[in-house]
Symmetry: C2
Subunit: 191 residues, 2 copies
DNA sequence: ATGAATTGCAACAGCTATGTTCCAGTTAGT
DNA sequence: ACTAACTGGAACATAGCTGTTGCAATTCAT
């Protein structure tokens, strides 16, 4: 159906998507022209590739969430030991979410295919948490829905911290912070 | 300077502010007319009371943050024992934040007087956390800036949970959940 | 090198929100 | 009861964004 785009056009599409992510993360109501400018492309070209503003945002959402899903799978959430999986998944998600701060930060009205991927991600996460609970990593009385919600929130918050160090090292440090906080909180540790 | 408004006008102002809060929490780009409709007031009246859209939003921010500051002070954060203060402050903040979900949920560009109040609130929070740490409620190694960030996030998340029970009881339940999670996380409890 | 695809630019139409003004009718304060 | 303030409604001007079209110039594929 869809003819393969010329190298030209494909570059434009990528540039537009990345620019849209950047611009919209600052101002979710930014105009198509602002996005085009940021992409180094005329506004008409944006409209040529994405008929509607909505179409663009949908494409953005799908692109972002697919990358997120891949990042999660790379953490082997269902084969590695829970704690290891948790660390790996967290680090991977942090890396991806950092690049897609807008799209993944705002709870978009996912009427499109993005919604199904979201559901799968949520299910995946719950499976991991359930396993962690069974193996004693999480408290038996923990509310897993709430735990998942907190887990997501902690990752979002960790990304808003100033990043003094290098790139990769900082991601690991953040992952450790998130997992540590999720498991033990800020209260006094029993030694 | 500012002449006292007639009872009429004052009612309108309040109605507009409350309606704006409601409408904007659903759609941050809602029009002045939508706000006017929700307030049971003509669009022109909205413009009479708030010259700009920005003026309205600023007023909203100030109104909300003042209520938040008051709610915090009512928790006696610097006289009550840390744990008690933490519970009370949390419950009060949850109640207020629930009524001002939009304004307090979005990190507005606070160029106005709201910024100074925010700073004071943050300072107040840090004082409480510092005291809690000194008295052994928080771990000596805890990063208090991060703890505060997590604390705020937990409150926001708690408000997004479905509220099955009554009004007041639910607020207390949420406060307990927040404090408990902040202190101990979801990990296995040592008995 | 040749044709097809792509792009920038300019122009256009349509829509929506904003902000203002005017005026007649209502409401509050004294 | 009288005045001043307030309100709704309509009308108007303005501005900005959206989406479309046409065309000349460029770039890619083969």
């Amino acid at each position: 159906m869809a003819k393969p785009l010329r190298a030209d056009a494909e570059r434009s599409v990528r540039a537009i998507l990345e620019a849209a992510e950047q611009v919209l993360s600052h101002d979710s109501g930014a105009s198509m022209e602002q996005i085009g400018d940021a992409a180094g492309v005329a506004r008409t070209t944006v409209h040529r590739r994405f008929a509607n503003r909505q179409t663009l945002i949908d494409a953005l959402a799908i692109s972002a969430i697919q990358q997120l899903a891949e990042a999660i799978e790379e953490g082997r959430p269902d084969t590695a030991p829970p704690l290891v999986a948790l660390y790996r998944v967290t680090a991977n998600v942090l890396k991806t979410k950092n690049a897609w701060k807008f799209t993944l930060g705002n709870p978009t009205s996912d009427t499109s295919a993005a919604a199904s991927i979201w559901e799968r991600i949520n299910t995946r996460c719950m499976e991991l948490l359930t396993r962690a609970q069974r193996e004693g990593l999480l408290d038996a009385a923990a509310d897993l829905e709430w735990t998942r919600q907190v887990y997501y929130a902690l990752m979002s918050e960790a990304l808003q911290r100033p990043t003094p160090g290098s790139e990769a090292a900082e991601t690991d440090a953040r992952a450790e912070l998130v997992v540590d906080t999720l498991l033990y909180g800020a209260g006094r540790r029993t030694q």
